[in-house]
Amino acid sequence: MRDATILTGFLGSGKTTLLNRMLTQPDFPASAVLVNEFGEVGIDNALLRFSTERVAVLANGCICCAVREDVEEAIRLLTEQEEKSEIPSFGHLFIETSGLADPARLIQTFSASPVLRSRFKLRCVAAAVDATLGAETLNRFDEAARQVALADTVILTKTDLMEEGRSVGPLLNQIQTVNPGVRTTIAHPQDLPDTLVQHLLGNAGPDPRDPAIAFMRGSSADGRLNIHHLLDTGISSFCLTLSETIDWTAFGMWLTWLLHRHGASVLRVKGLLNVAQCGGPVAFHAVQHMVYPPEHLDHWPTEDETSRLVFIVKDLDPALVERSLQAFNRLTRVEARYAREWTRHKDIGAGSTVRGRPIRRPSTPRWMR
């Protein structure tokens, strides 16, 4: 299983320059680079492949679940050529997206494609943000805000081009507004921080997806329903805190339905949950329709043991999301009372019909269950 990194960022944010600098670092592992479009800056000393965006929609027809067929095919070709020794072997795969690409589709491709899922582990989604124009771009362009919302690490580029006396502080705050708790790093013009390189390679200590760590850094996860809106993009982020324990079955039912109905609008959900069926906290992370396996932690990162869920959404009412989650969770309180009424359809047995055909006996004999 090899590691993969997705490098995204808006048009002109300096992705290719950043990648070029990283790949020319001494001791950098042999890497294959898949570029979504022809960049203006050549990348040397690395295996390069180009792909044009081609999207395949999955069977359920949901557009936000579309997989990037071109990427899947390009990676399959790469690995086949490597196996035949036609190209040098590589230890890491970088995918540089085009400036307007939606990284969610790429992330989804890593989850949905059997070829990619079995051979590559997606370690990091990094977004490059131009320090000089980033603030305006994030407010004006939906694509840029989505790229930051879906990133594990945000890298500020072009800090050397900033006007005298201007600081990156406001932009960093804006990035935290879009994606609370996201890791942010500055790519200095002279040297790249070693930690940044390690993060992109997925070698840094804690997993960048670890919400426990993210929450400790996050400024907005302080126990209130903080709603932050970006001006023109319709994207907002908010943190829900639930004092009651969360029933995992009810939560699963609610979230699968929410993602089914509003998957394209729910850019990201991450959080730490106090689950009724578990001893310790459960770290949870989802990107659009893709839910990562929940992670069970030994201890809470702070003394506060209430469930916290960060949502990054587009055009969804945060108050309704909170009310809906609480209503579903509280359904478990009256579950016992309505048990008979809600389970009377448990077995479709003799006398009922399936697709118009009568059932003469239950599908599976009770002794076999």
Binding site: N60, L331, V334, E335, W342, S363
Partner: protein, 115 residues
């Protein structure tokens, strides 16, 4: 796969608790049948608003039905929501529907809880 009806089982989903040692029911491991029973109960609790029912189909899939007698057999929780859309024939079932939330809130209100 079910040897009788040749139905394939759904793979493991992130919502599954049975067979995972981290999850327990008052210290006891959660059995698949108990988990499915609970899921069916809770989903029925919500879908009664739309007049739909869900039932466990032989422990391997779920049957979603509407009052007109149309049925859909699905393997996983996510499939239930796709079937709900089909069986509602154009009406969109939505967990953020305010009238549904109001009904669920009323159902789980403290007065109802203690009744």
């Amino acid at each position: 796969m079910c040897g009788l009806c040749a139905a394939l089982n759904a793979g493991r989903a992130w919502t599954d608790t049975a067979g995972r040692p981290q999850f327990s029911n008052a210290g006891r491991p959660i059995r698949t049948s108990d988990e499915r029973d609970r899921l069916v109960r809770l989903v029925n609790g919500v879908l009664q608003y739309y007049g739909l029912t869900v039932s466990d189909w032989g422990g391997s899939s779920y049957m979603v039905a509407n009052p007109a007698g149309q049925n859909e057999n699905v393997y996983a929780l996510t499939g239930i929501w796709e079937s709900v859309d089909k069986l509602l024939a154009g009406r969109k079932a939505d967990p953020l529907d305010e009238s549904l939330i109001k009904i669920l809130e009323k159902l789980a209100s403290p007065r109802n809880e203690n009744a």
